[in-house]
Assembly symmetry: C2
Homo-oligomer: 397 residues x 2
């Protein structure tokens, strides 16, 4: 078996430097060295998401962060808008209902984005809504929502905005004017580290609401964590090895440069999408809103054929993800975030071509050729952020 | 600076083999290799705690497990007994009150244990109590409670018993007849792994109560995690690097043997306590109930002198913990759990003697001599579990 190339939407591959850092000896988490480590990670995250907001780090997966953004901001029966365009939006709603939140659901068909006009419409219809929850990058469908435009609408209405950027932050530009009130992420995505640390970047307004909100919590409490971090500590034992890794990964990110990271993610996404389409597959996500971190590829052949395709790819060392929920047997997903280069995408497409051609020889070369053209067109473009925030007219459904 | 000898009650030192395992490449957590990894860890934990109960693993610190044992077992206003003998008992009560639990507190003076007679008395006075929460090993005071005897009392009254064994499980024998309904632990303690995985070993009765209990939760939900684990998965992204480490640590534990591990912990505790007392310090914990995993040493000199002592020890490479809460400036704590040998304790005592003697030469040798005597007496004892469950009469307070 070859060394696996892990091309799922997370956990993402760990660079050698980061893995090495992650295995350093444990330290006392109530000590000056830990305080320095935590402080530098917080600064790094602020740099990557272009924010001066408070960064809170919880020992949890990304979903722990999703729950934290509910329990810290709302009271029982409070009305909140959840814009749901896939499995992670649905999960957020399931959580909120368990806590007795009055959920207003803006349900978007799978493969389509949340558009600002719809959010504006709902907010105008229902002025009692206090808080808007949006999945920035819907990992299950490969949709990346136009969050900068959504942020303008939501903040213009003076509502709180929470972004599930678990699989987007650190890979693409975040809304900066206005910012979201809570931006959520997790260590195993763009941050190139093992899973175990949930990140919440929280505005002063959201911290203030957290101080008076009434849903019960302790472990995921923003105020307790902010108080501890103000003293250079965490409330409970932090995931030290994951934080070591993140610290080194952030150093690598600073060396590469923020714009360069964003450009690289845009490029590998364009390559993946062009290459996959050239091989005759259709993409689930609507053009103009396709994710820069994960591509969802429709597969019509049924469960068994899909399983066989993934298995044959794995024999060539390439691991792709299946679908989630109702899409389980209908698509596969290619993650291209964190530690990923154009050459990695060429390698994935080359293996896929080979599998499609029957396995033993080389494939058609069409996917690789299309990806290389996409890269060439891309690197000649003057803008590091093409297409992302354009707004093609929405398909009726 | 020397390589640190980390002698705090957690995180504990990571053995080389375990650190190496922890840095293996990431895998898809929805895959057969992950299913095997998880399954073998669960079997290893069941072996270590001598239980066939369900093992649930959450991406969280130990305190996440403490909260899980509240939100899964109780309904709002339900009456539960919390036996609190230190900072972690107090934390548990704080959590429970936030969730609207009707807390009955059995508050034990610091340095004294929870004894079964007191638990029995409270349960007889207040038959509405459904569930009893006991800190097995109170890390903040160095008390190890007689949990086997407490389990007999609680289960005889047909109440649920929850044990915070975060810093005890895997190091000492657990109650087996009867068992506790929930045993909580965490990866960074006796399991010799980095922090990030919370462990809950849950009885069928507790799982049944969880299915109908009504406190809100999603992230820490026992039923959701049990359903996912039944399919060889976890609900959300698991802390893969920590689980790699635990898997290897459990292999080391099986190689050493369970009784041998328990004996080693008993021996290093006896050595530490004898050595420290021989150097003129007093121990906070009442004799007969002194912890086998952490020793709390009283220090009368005040905050500055205590800080200086810890700092001088650190210059010799030995890291000990300070006190917590109201004990912050009154004691230091030596952790002796997980990766720890008699020679490690001799080394700690030797460094402490040297610091006490002024720093530059060798110390008195009294601590080391006492520790060696304790070890000799210990290894000639026929029983692998001496003194632990004896019940000296309780001091009046």
């Amino acid at each position: 078996m070859f060394q696996q190339q892990l091309r799922i939407p997370g956990p993402t591959p760990i660079p050698e430097r980061v893995a090495e850092a992650g295995r350093r000896p444990m330290i006392n988490h109530r000590s000056a060295p830990f305080t320095r480590l935590l402080g530098e990670i917080i600064e790094g995250i602020q740099w990557a998401v272009e924010s001066k907001n408070k960064v809170l780090i919880f020992p949890a997966s990304g979903s722990g962060g999703l729950e934290a953004a509910i329990v810290n901001l709302l009271r029982p029966g409070e009305k909140a808008l959840f814009c749901s365009c896939g499995a992670f939006g649905a999960r957020w709603i399931q959580m909120a209902r368990r806590y007795g939140v009055d959920v207003v659901e803006l349900k978007i068909p799978l493969g389509q984005p949340v558009i600002p006009e719809d959010v504006q419409f709902v907010l105008e219809q229902d002025p009692e809504i206090s808080t808007v929850y949006v999945t920035h990058n819907e990992t299950s469908t490969g949709i990346m929502n136009p969050v900068a435009d959504i942020a303008r609408v939501v903040k213009q209405k003076q509502k709180l905005l929470v972004l599930d950027s678990v699989s987007a932050a650190g890979c693409v530009p975040m809304p900066t004017a206005p910012e979201a009130d809570v931006v959520l992420s997790a260590s195993q995505k763009g941050w190139m580290s093992p899973p175990g640390a949930a990140i919440a970047v929280v505005s002063a307004e959201a911290m203030q609401k957290a101080a008076s909100s009434r849903l019960p919590r302790w472990y995921l409490d923003f105020s307790l964590m902010a108080q501890a971090q103000a003293k250079g500590e965490t409330v409970t034992t932090p995931p030290i090895s994951v934080l070591y890794a993140m610290h080194e990964a952030l150093a690598m990110m600073r060396e590469e440069g923020r714009d360069e990271i964003f450009l690289r993610h845009a490029a590998v996404a364009a390559m993946t999408q062009a290459g996959i389409e050239a091989l005759g597959f259709a993409l689930l996500a609507q053009p103009g809103y396709r994710s820069r971190t994960v591509t969802a590829v429709l597969h019509e052949g049924g469960k068994e054929a899909l399983g066989q395709l993934r298995s044959q790819l794995m024999q060539k060392g390439v691991v792709v993800a299946g679908g989630q929920g109702e899409l389980a047997d209908k698509l596969f997903r290619i993650g291209h975030l964190g530690q990923v280069t154009p050459a990695d995408i060429v390698s994935v497409l080359c293996s896929l071509e080979d599998v499609l051609a029957g396995g033993d020889g080389m494939g058609s070369g069409k996917g690789v050729a299309a990806a290389r053209s996409a890269l060439a067109a891309f690197t000649s473009s003057p803008s590091p952020t093409p297409t992302q925030h354009s707004r093609p007219s929405r398909k009726s459904t």
